[in-house]
């Protein structure tokens, strides 16, 4: 009992860490319900209803989900490919692993800027296409930034997320992959079967928390979207910022609804992460 009390007391410092975001969430939720902020006219579900009924909201949610899914899937596949390719202890493989994780500390805003300079209509790709005789003016280059499919944004996010996921994949394969693969091979599995039934399940289990973290981060990433996303449909972080900074103050509660929604989604991701950690510990 005393130990339990001590444990509970020791939880206090963690409040220092979790309280500010929870206070922020609380304020966003109360402002979205008309209880605080510029539209504090008393409890109302009006703003919530308006945001939920708005086509713009769902277009933003759908587009953001598309970007998060596509970026995470491409980055995961590339990370798995890198981990499967550069897994030996040879110098070449070590260099391969090192180069693969090089963009890790580079800020997202820099990745977005580079993407703009490469994929813009007068960017490097367009110049290569011109040199190859594919077209003669920048206008002929299909739009790859500010485009509806978000190709430039996906490119920047994939470039930025591959190193993080590759690093996890390298670690997982190094610590847990070898023995299972050897067993599979000794049981007569060919290379493809070994990958499908031994390597992939181990990789996937080990990478899953990282994949959840990447998808959550990408969905809420503001700076990459601000430099590369189109204005129609707006990405969810851009829509939130637009509503928050709009001169028309009556739009402010909408921003609180959207911010509260984003924070709740991230809390759900945290809960999933917590469950995964607990499961992994039990598994050990």
């Amino acid at each position: 009992m005393i130990a339990d009390k001590r444990s509970l007391t020791r939880l206090f410092p963690i409040a220092l860490v979790a309280l500010p975001p929870l206070l922020g969430l609380g304020y966003a939720l109360s402002a979205s319900l008309g209880l605080s902020g510029v539209a504090n006219g008393g409890l109302t579900l009006q703003y919530l209803r308006e945001v939920i009924a708005s086509h713009t909201t769902w277009a933003a949610v759908g587009w953001t989900l598309w970007i998060a899914t596509a970026s995470t899937v491409f980055a995961t596949l590339a990370a798995v490919l890198l981990a499967a390719t550069f897994r030996a202890e040879s110098t070449a493989d070590r260099i391969g692993r090192m180069v693969a994780v090089l963009p890790l500390p580079i800020p997202h805003v820099v990745a977005a800027l580079a993407s703009l300079l490469i994929l813009g209509q007068s960017g490097l790709l367009s110049r290569f296409a011109n040199t190859a005789g594919m077209f003669s003016t920048p206008a002929q280059m299909p739009p790859l930034v500010y485009d509806r499919l978000g190709i430039g944004l996906i490119f920047a996010l994939v470039w930025k997320e591959i190193p993080f996921l590759a690093l996890i994949a390298f670690t997982v394969l190094k610590s847990r992959g070898g023995l299972l693969e050897e067993s599979a091979r000794s049981l007569g599995a060919n290379r493809l079967q070994t990958f499908l039934y031994a390597t992939w399940p181990v990789l996937w289990r080990g990478m899953l928390p990282g994949v959840v973290a990447v998808a959550t981060f990408v969905a809420g990433s503001y700076e990459t979207a601000a430099l590369l996303a189109p204005s129609r449909p707006l990405a969810l972080p851009l829509l939130t910022m637009e509503r928050y900074t709009d001169g028309a103050m009556e739009l402010r509660p909408d921003a609180f609804v959207l911010a509260g929604f984003s924070l709740l989604v991230s809390l759900a991701a945290v809960a999933i992460y917590g469950a995964m950690i607990a499961r992994a510990e039990n598994f050990k």
Partner: protein, 247 residues
Amino acid sequence: MWTALPISVLVFSSFGEGWFYPRLLPTHWSTAAWGELVGDRRLLRSLVISVWLALLTGGAASILGFEIGRRVSRIAVPLRYFALTAAFIPVAAPPLALGIGLQYFVLRAGLGGTLTGVWLAHSVVAIGYTTVYFIGVFAVFDRRVEEEARSLGASPLVTLARVTLPLHRRQLAEAFLLGFLVSWAQVPLTLLIGQGAVESLATSVMSYAHAGQDHLASVAGLLLTLPALVLMGLVGSSIRRLAVATV
């Protein structure tokens, strides 16, 4: 090539002159854009602000993360999982949504548009990262060393100062870098809490890019990139533990 191309483009853009469509390479090279670092006070000021913010955030995050992680690691399972999950909240919360929620409190405290306000906002996120990091560090720390010191008559404070802290010098340095990087790359919190009055290097990249000033945006982008790469080189094998900061 996949890794190097984006950085090469920034180098071309910052050092190249006469790099007009459809040229693949600039016609000649120049340091004129880099000279703006001295000439354009705005860029220099944002560099100084970024360094200052990152140093302060790294300092606060490493010290507080150490102490909170140390205390949390003494909590019994399953409450420790709860604490770990709680520490993960500021890490997972989208900075934009976090900034919108926090802005009210920062404004009430009279810290809107100030360096202190932005530093506190950056620290909220960075302390989350370093706490998660130190919970991991202390999970594998052999406490018998501390118990030995206590049994020899050392007070808790002396044990902390003479035993625990010296044993974690490297981890404290890594946590400092972690906090530094979190602040260094932060955009939405700086925009919302800084309210335009506090411009960091990361927000400068955005404003130069939006204004079509590619040369200056590239200079600011490379200035953001180089320290991050140097730090990665310094921490070397520890990069796995720091990776989470750069998701």
